[in-house]
Symmetry: C2
Subunit: 104 residues, 2 copies
């Protein structure tokens, strides 16, 4: 959990996560999206890997990175803990079983 929050505590790394959400990319393709040296990006990828937020596979001289949604789910679960406790009585009306939301 510590590693997860540490990895996400950086705008560049969160942006990498967003890029990999769209599609898998090589280290170089990721670096092309930033105005920053390749070693710096490599370092960010390393931290994301330590947190298991991303996965990597080497193919020839390229390393392909992809998002690991399992780790994201883990953080989500932590946040779910803080869903407000249901009030004892909502004006004595039973809690609804479904909710209708506007999309977008």
């Amino acid at each position: 959990m510590n590693n997860l929050f540490r990895a996400l505590n950086d705008a560049t790394r969160r942006e990498i996560v967003e890029l990999l959400h769209k599609k898998d990319l090589t280290a170089g393709e990721i670096a092309d999206n930033f105005n920053m040296s390749k070693p710096s990006i490599s370092h960010h990828l390393d931290l994301l890997k330590q947190a298991e937020l991303i996965l990597s596979v080497k193919k020839g001289q390229f390393i392909h990175y992809s998002l690991n949604r399992t780790a994201l789910d883990e953080v989500m679960d932590w946040f779910m803990t803080f869903k407000p406790t249901t009030p004892e009585k909502i004006e004595s009306v039973e809690k609804p079983r479904i909710r209708i939301m506007l999309t977008e």
Copy 2:
């Protein structure tokens, strides 16, 4: 968003959030839960406040802290972005204007 992740990138601060989820507490009561000086806790509270993760109200010489779930929701929303993309087939159907969700 930056401040939110920064505030949560510390085990002590996440524990404070968990304590305040259970019930509102004064600064001193929060400090009693940690083996750490009061000024340090005060500093952590300050960072949590900057991120608007907690709220404070002064009552006499005490300061009462409580959780601000709105900010937690904001982070949750960011994570929701990474829910796996809907499969292609559904894309030939017009996007629904409302969504019916199961609660709880």
